[in-house]
Symmetry: C2
Subunit: 751 residues, 2 copies
């Protein structure tokens, strides 16, 4: 599938820098023009390593105890995108002369981004130029660019300048009050060595004590000369040669980054990897790229027949997820992936609730790496719990890179205790899908136990009910409440899941060691079970719906119809107290609980709750529509489900939130995949396996997707006849379709 | 009464700078040593004009809509305290040589601060030095210092240096994370003119666009020469002469400040006032000071017989209140008075609830000025309401100097909507005590109406009850709650009071104009009445107490006994969410409501509520113990009342909160006066006049206080025989004593 534009529009430049970023879960480079753009064209030129961050103190005018004190920000790496071409004495840019053709294209099958321009210079010289880029899925430290050009109606001298600049700053925008007016510097160049045509730049972060090596080398067009010079923090190569009309020439630039969070000796590693990379032509890495992507997609293919545009969005969503997710147990998934600095490159619950399912069901080894990255943050979560006044347990940070809380507005930050249960939900799902009990014993149990302890410390009993006060649920328009339904339900699932896991570990003889590692005894397990069984879940008798929290339904209902369109999103136009005072939702809350934890809840209560909350939900968060889409499908309202799904699938490609320039909405990419699988196909992971309630939206001929479960790889196809499964690999399995058992065996049986 | 210390203790230096500040409601100067102190001795040298401020932007890492954007800070004025003496070649300081005697003394009767030192220089020269200071109650722009000295065992040259420094900064403390590490500059010197021995310095604030003139002149010791020079922002005078042993000499320094918030031409005014001031010797101003203070105290005298220390505290409290309160309708009362920069010189509800009653009942013209200052902020309160999302009405800022909200942590800032009702309460009390209906028509009605409108916009009806959601009550350990009892009760009083006032204005023929000025019609009045009558007041049947809010009593009770002493105040050691999650109070909340609005509440409910909340109140706010003292007296628990009263009366004099260095606790000064009158004597202002329920604490022989009511000035004395009133002036009046009517006439009748 190709995402492409065949016209150049300077006003869309920054947005396309996001859409055409290349990334591989470790390294991401925004899709800027190599030669740059003139002042006045909004550009956020940047490159990032997942989890490579700098720190700065957080200032508060009134600082209270336990407020987050240190901001972590994903660092904008040295700029290695720079390549300018002087063609027969004229500088190539898309802003001078004229373009006979122009296209930007990302191929989700090959993993390459391509820019093709046929350019007529001011003096009338025509040149065809092609820029190809990749962030390698095979060598994650490698970003490579190939520039090919052909003089069409001239012969003459070509001078190519390529740069590696350590003089970079974080994104800034003097026009946007939410951003810094002047970008902060987060890197300091410590040394540059120029050796045999390559450059090795060593940098330190300003405050976080991390190190980075950036190595750059080239493959020259044949017959070109090369010079290299360093001036301050910028290394500049110049390649010069004569070309003839109709004789193509090309340059490949190899850029390797290695950081001290992954490598003991980033310098040595960067040098070694650059050598390895530049030993091969661009085509070699492009071939490997396609092979790697094909392999990843072998278990993830999904498509929609009957809506080409949605099918393309789906491809882009899956490709983006694969580009964003860390594989090394260090990097997780930033809320903008590796496509921009929005939200400082922080990890949120977005990973576990919106993106994790895609990996778990298609490439579970990536899901495992994401869980390991969370387990690595456990010490930070334990510290955070202490800062928040808890004598026991761990509280994961609402937003963080390495573990410490980086949210400076705790009512919709640290107060979102549900993140503990969200992470627990991911661990438990992983166990259900993979059956990997040994990982759960080694790693999962301790995370589940420490986070479970927090519920006991945060909650208390009253009249036999276990209550959790003063927390914030998913809906950020209602903060610091008592007994948020979602939170209590998620905590219940967490506590019960831990008790089930303990049973399973006991049966497998793995319990004692796991319990010892968590200093957990039977008495504590019994407390978990009791709290889960006594969990208070607010319910409104009169309305027959689950209440978002103790007080939500007694507040004044906000008449959304009475608010002018331009005052949305509400958080940009209303003080939080105004929002908190009203029945109004930023995003799915109780409805999300019904999505994740449907078992035991009455169908009519789910339906009534959906309608009640939908009417007062603004979807001002991009985390909302996909949930409403999936739950509309769940209650059989397919037109509504499809309407929501369209808005989900098109968010970034059509920039409907007007902020794609700052980076993709990675969770929404997960929502695009889940909207199909969990939404239309009604997929759910339960203790007894996978469940489906398939639906085919009007206008679609069919849709298909693949999933892995235990040792099986299965393709599911949904059409008017229903759902049918093809076992592509593995011993076969049983699933539940509309609550009836279905056997999937080889050779595939028609359903 | 004298507050005095006869030993010098460098560690108490900053605290005494506060205690010995001189102020008059317009101008305040901290009691620093004229000659300064060496580095290492903590000193906060400063001088302030009530309401003279600079601005700075408030930075938030995550800024939401409606957050306060601009900080206002009371400006540290040019330093005019500087006077150093070189005595026969040796610099006088309290840190060299030795002191044969030392005393610091504030006389609350004369309004003078005195420092007397008998100093032996390192070379053995003995000198007696006396420094006297005043901030004039007669010419509020004047601060005057007189230095007198006598060589005891030497004759020789004396050189006196006196400075006026425009190079000043705001308070800072690199050791205290709550303060800036480097003091911010808020003033810029624009011009200095030196003419005929006087200096006129013109300054502008950096950001707020205000102007200030500082004028300084001297009366020289006879026979001394004078030179003056300016270097950058500092003017330095040198006075030199020869003195003989046993022949005293003295210098008077006159310092006048005039600001552009009060004067169109501060320069002209400062010059004129300096001329007038320096035309008279120090003794002239000292005489006037005593006369003015005597007059103010004529209607405010109060004393305790049987506890000298408490009686002294009471005197200091009244004196401090008179020093702190603005009289000009511009300045209000900062929470630290004019004694320091703590809380940025902001005005809070402290004024109306804790300090206003003293002025209202003793010097109502000052009370009136305070109300005018609030009325002047009404436009800012209307703007603030809009920022907070309210379509109608005014919401007073929680902390401000001129009106805009300056609280950067809204959960215990702007969310304290009760400030509207607190201000309304002061206006209504003023009407009840003075009967000044014309002021209420001209000014009070509009304030009451605009602030009342906010309740209608903030609240809503459910099941016939008027409910107010998502506000914070007085207790800052429980924020953003629904139906805070205090808030709802105070709003009810506010709405009812406004309706009563409307009736009274109608009868007096003043209504139509007042209503027109507020664009208020009968329909709106009926809405106010209905909301008041439908006000929901949470009550717990099982406990038989008023509930602090909808959810407070369902939270976990914090076991205060289990928390180590060093973790108090809790806000310094626990995250707000921890505090919000528990039943724990920073300060009186429901108990304060019962203090202010007792009518209609059951006696047993008041008593039970007191005991319930007292057990979980930390008194981490200095606004709390005085309320618990008064309410202990109210329910007849006199020992407890006295214990609390002692802690109130001694707070600053004994620095029990360890922060007197930052300024006095002005509200607590009000609490000291109220503890006697409202507490032990059971004074209440009600619609039908003054009520008393007098008690005499154990160990006291008697206590007395004076009050004004309408045209009467009365002295009340409480002893074992009960309360008796002496009419000192006026036509006589009726009061209620223990719910029985008592006539006060002249000649005074024994009760």
């Amino acid at each position: 599938m190709q995402i492409s534009f065949d016209r150049f529009n300077p006003r869309e430049y920054a947005r396309r820098e996001t859409l055409f970023h290349v990334a591989n879960g470790y390294l991401g480079v925004r899709g800027s023009f190599e030669e740059g753009v003139p002042e006045g064209v909004r550009s956020i030129r940047g490159a990032y390593i997942n989890g490579f961050y700098d720190e700065s103190p957080i200032h508060y005018e009134e600082q209270l105890h336990g407020f987050a004190t240190t901001q972590q920000s994903m660092v904008n790496l040295p700029d290695v995108q720079g390549i300018t071409l002087m063609l027969n004495g004229e500088d190539f840019t898309c802003f001078t002369g004229s373009m006979d053709s122009f296209s930007q294209q990302l191929d989700t099958r090959t993993g390459l981004y391509l820019r093709e321009v046929t350019w007529t210079s001011p003096r009338g010289h025509k040149t065809r130029l092609t820029f190809r880029r990749l962030a390698s899925f095979v060598m994650p430290q490698l970003f490579a660019v190939e520039v090919s050009a052909e003089a069409l109606n001239w012969s003459g001298q070509v001078s190519i300048t390529s740069t590696q600049s350590g003089d970079v700053r974080q994104d800034s925008d003097p026009q946007d009050p939410r951003k810094a007016a002047i970008g902060r510097k987060t890197l300091k160049v410590k040394a540059v060595s120029l050796l045999e045509g390559t450059s090795l730049m060593r940098l330190d972060t300003i405050a976080s004590g991390l190190h980075l090596s950036s190595a750059v080398g080239h493959r020259l067009p044949s017959g070109f000369s090369q010079t290299v010079a360093r001036h301050k923090d910028v290394v500049t190569w110049r390649f010069e040669g004569d070309v003839k009309a109709g004789q193509p020439f090309s340059l490949t630039k190899y850029c390797v980054f290695a950081d001290s969070r992954r490598f003991d000796k980033p310098d040595v590693e960067a040098k070694r990897l650059l050598e390895q990379a530049s030993g091969q032509p661009f085509s070699h890495w492009a071939d490997l790229q396609e092979k790697a992507l094909t392999q990843l997609m072998a278990s993830a293919q999904a498509q929609i027949t009957g809506d080409e545009s949605l099918s393309r969005s789906l491809s882009y969503a899956m490709y983006s997820l694969l580009s964003s997710a860390g594989r090394d147990g260090v990097g997780n998934i930033a809320s903008k992936g590796l496509s921009g600095e929005g939200y400082e490159g922080h990890y949120f619950w977005d990973t576990e609730i919106y993106m994790f399912p895609f990996f778990l069901l298609t490439n579970p080894e990536i899901a495992r790496a994401l869980l390991i990255s969370r387990a690595r943050m456990l010490p930070g979560a334990i510290d955070h719990a202490r800062e928040m006044g808890h004598a026991a347990g761990a509280l994961y940070a609402w937003r963080t890179i390495t573990g410490p809380e980086c949210s400076s507005y705790y009512p919709s930050g640290s107060a979102q205790y549900h993140i503990n249960a969200d992470i627990a939900h991911a661990f438990l799902s992983y166990w259900q899908v993979t059956g990997d009990l040994s990982f759960m014993a080694d790693t999962g149990f301790q995370v589940l136990a420490e986070t479970a302890r927090l519920w006991l410390d945060a909650g208390h009993y009253q009249n036999g009910q276990f209550r959790i006060d003063s927390v914030t649920g998913p809906d950020e328009y209602t903060c610091i409440v008592n007994n948020n339904y979602y939170t209590n339900r998620a905590a219940q699932h967490h506590l019960r899941g831990l008790c089930h896991l303990a049973e399973a570990l006991k049966k497998a003889g793995l319990y004692d060691q796991a319990a010892r590692a968590s200093a957990l005894d039977e008495g504590e397990l019994a407390l978990f079970q009791r709290a889960a069984d006594s969990m208070f879940l607010p319910y409104d008798e009169a309305l027959g719906i689950c209440a978002q929290d103790d007080s939500f339904l007694s507040k004044q209902r906000l008449d959304l119809g009475g608010i002018p369109r331009e005052r949305f999103p509400l958080l940009m136009h209303y003080h939080p107290l105004f929002l908190y005072r009203h029945q109004v939702l930023k995003q799915a809350d109780t409805v999300l609980a019904h999505f994740l934890f449907e078992d035991g809840e009455d169908e009519e209560v789910i339906r009534r709750s959906y309608h009640y909350y939908e009417a007062i939900t603004t979807h001002d968060s991009s985390l909302s529509p996909c949930v409403y889409s999936m739950m509309a499908a769940r209650i059989g309202e397919m037109d509504k489900a499809l309407d929501y799904y369209r808005s989900v699938a098109t968010l970034d490609l059509y920039d409907t939130h007007k902020n794609t320039a700052d980076g993709i909405h990675a969770a929404n990419m997960g929502g695009t995949w889940m909207g199909l699988t969990y939404g239309f196909a009604g997929l759910r992971i339960k203790a007894d396996g996978l469940h489906f309630r398939p639906h085919l939206p009007d206008g679609w001929q069919k849709y298909s997707f693949r999933f892995r479960f235990r040792d099986n790889l299965v393709e599911a196809v949904v059409d008017e006849a229903g759902i049918r499964f093809t076992l592509l690999d593995g011993p076969g399995m049983t699933v539940m379709v509309d609550a009836r058992e279905r056997l999937i065996t080889a050779p595939a049986l028609k359903a």
